[in-house]
Amino acid sequence: MATIFETLKLYFTYPFVRYALIVGVLIALCSSLLGVTLVLKRFSFIGDGLSHVAFGGMAIASVLKFTNDMPLTLTVTVISAILLLMSSKNAKIKGDAAIAMVSVGSLAIGYLLLNIFSPSGNLSGDVCSTLFGSTSILTLTKTEVYLCAVLSVIVVAVFVLLYNRIFAVTFDEDFSNATGINANLYNFAIAIIIAVIIVLAMNLVGSLLISALVIFPSLSAMRLFKSFKSVTVCSAVLSVLCSLLGILISIVFGTPVGSTIVAADIIAFLVCYIIGLLVGGKKI
């Protein structure tokens, strides 16, 4: 035990470990906030779909030899998010099919572009780290940490300010519209927030595992709590704890950061599920 703490203490003297922890916690916090809304709107897979879009955006940015791929990736992802969430109701191609189409499409195009115009020699290494976020969180620069911190603060602030409206629109869009709330405006806001979160979270867990970060904490919290507010708070707390734990374990044991965090989230879900069964009795 003592040696583990020694190791951690040693690692904390490195700035990149501290950056990783800060960014990890911020991203975990942001991504859990909208989870409840997305799960309830049957949009659990939007995280997956959008992250593949973000991968496509990243590929384009690196083919064009942009030094910072964030702005382009963010723009592409935000636009896709808006299109997916807004068109879902009356579109000819329904929500899940649209997400699947966009998701695999951009994954394929992104990989194709990288393959043809690859700027670096280690193509499979690059792709692997984008998909699983294996090391990028440990190579963050100070600017990226600041950018991430600023975006996280904005996301949390917007969520808190719009909390009551997000609740109403998620619970009953028609009623909100009928009483003069512009539900589309808030769906729009939700789409933008989720896109920002996904681009942020790509650094942490990579684009294949983002969905886990978005849905697991809220699914866990929904087993235990019964009001929207307590579910939201609980999922934020769970998410932060799991990602802290995941990062620490991955540092000590040298496991991949993203998958370790997701593993921690899965364990937390199982624990919550069992507690929910014991306390709640019948319901799922």
Binding site: V36, L40, K41, R42, V160, L161, L162, Y163, N164, R165, F167, A168, T170, F171, D172, D174, F175, S176, N177, A178, T179, G180, I181, M222, F225, K226, S227, F228, K229, V231, K283
Partner: protein
Amino acid sequence: MAQLTCDKVTLGYDGKVVRENVSFSVKSGDYLCIIGENGSGKSTLMKTILGLKAPMSGKISYGDGLKEKEIGYLPQQTDIQKDFPASVYEIVLSGCLSKLGAKPFYTKKQKDMANYQIHRLGLDNLKKRCYRELSGGQQQRVLLARALCATKKMILLDEPVSGLDPKVTADMYELIDALNKKDGITVIMISHDIKSTLTYATHILHVGKDIFFGTKQEYLKSDFAKVFANKGGEE
């Protein structure tokens, strides 16, 4: 002056006409039931009244102090709501949202309003309970309380008793009737249940191939009632 007037409205969606020439008016304190077979355009009419959909032609006007967005709406349950983690209080309070204006959070006034409606509909002991664990009748009461938070003048109910057992159905009708008679709230109800409709309503709008609008007494004398009565109130 009427609170709500529909003048020669054509209903439809995606450029397809469902029903033409629908005209009726609702005065303060009326209890209007909208009946008609499935596909007759009842729900399109409802969405048009609520301003969720523009009429294809004709005009809908609001008057007597009622504004378009001040109709309290009791929708049918959606799938999302069946496993929504939310307390009764949170849901009822969300009915006050339109009164927030640009403010991000509810004030004491809105919280008092929500508490008042919860008390009014006898939901005090369920206030902290989770919505998805309530019975169908209790859930309807919660949604009715929310609708009352959004309006003082008119509620629009979309098949409020569908899926409820007879005892709970009767209670629900009594409750709506009390809101109408005691509190003077105008009621517009879309219903399948002809028998109860004829017990409580003051006016009937029958949407179908032919359109009837008039008082309950006029309706009972018309041919429409006979056709419906022969079907035993079933659709």
